[in-house]
């Protein structure tokens, strides 16, 4: 069974559209994350979330919003997509704190036309 799964794997859409990426983890972890990997392969944290607290990286535009219907899911909504949003988005889960590994999904490759 896949531990962290994201859908869709590929997303091609027009500038200005609104889209969502879904993420589910079956590891029972309390904390989930969204990372963005740009064209230079640099992986950067966007959000971290547990059932009590959402922490937003200050560099993330407010067009991006995470939504968590329950502990096992953290979806990413993006409004008014821009060309610069093209990247690979990774969901991850963990127990929180730096002393434990994070488990990553295989990414969603978003391409804006």
């Amino acid at each position: 069974d896949t531990a962290v799964s994201q859908t869709p794997k590929y997303l091609v859409t027009q500038m200005g559209n609104d889209k969502s990426i879904k993420c589910e983890q079956n590891l029972g972890h309390d904390t989930m994350y969204w990372y963005k990997q740009d064209s230079k392969k640099f992986l950067k944290i966007m959000f971290s979330y547990n059932n009590k607290e959402l922490i937003i990286n200050e560099t993330v535009p407010n067009r991006f919003s995470p939504k968590s219907p329950d502990k096992a899911h953290l979806n990413l909504h993006i409004n008014s997509l821009e060309l610069g949003d093209s990247a690979v988005y990774f969901c991850a889960s963990g127990t929180g704190g730096g002393h434990q590994p994070q488990h990553f999904g295989d990414g969603t490759r978003l391409s804006i036309l």
């Binding site: 962290v4 904390t31 994350y33 990372y35 230079k40 392969k41 640099f42 992986l43 950067k44 944290i45 971290s48 979330y49 547990n50 607290e53 922490i55 990286n57 990774f90 991850a92 963990g94 127990t95 929180g96 704190g97 730096g98 002393h99 434990q100 590994p101 994070q102 488990h103 990553f104 999904g105 295989d106 990414g107």
Partner: protein, 113 residues
């Protein structure tokens, strides 16, 4: 601001040799440091974690060192194999309680038969 550098973007070695990858950090005193492997089209996969009070950690053919004076970690793969070819990422835990990871840009390792 916190900064992580992996000095080599790419490293090419011959099968059977030891690969050594370097990770340096500045403006930070992390309690933990993690190493991940990323294959093309896949998410990062956790390999090893080392604590600030540990000088060295081993797992099969992998060895990680952590020098808090030099602010450096070295990642070694002994008896390298073509299957070890991948991008290797070092990561430190950022500020805050949720364990957000700050990644280096990665080193792409190619092991030639």
């Amino acid at each position: 601001s916190q900064k992580i550098e992996q000095n080599s973007e790419a490293l090419n070695i011959q099968e059977g040799k030891t690969a050594t990858l370097t990770c340096n950090y500045t403006n930070y005193s992390p309690a933990y440091l993690q190493w991940y492997r990323q294959d093309p089209g896949r998410g990062p996969v956790f390999l090893l974690l080392i604590r600030e009070n540990e000088k060295e950690k081993r797992k099969e053919r992998l060895k990680v060192t952590f020098d808090t004076t030099l602010k450096q970690s070295l990642f070694h793969i002994t008896a390298s194999q073509p299957a070890d070819s991948a991008t290797y990422l070092c990561a430190l835990v950022g500020d805050g309680s949720q364990g957000n990871l700050i990644f280096g840009k990665g080193t792409k390792l190619s092991v030639k038969p």
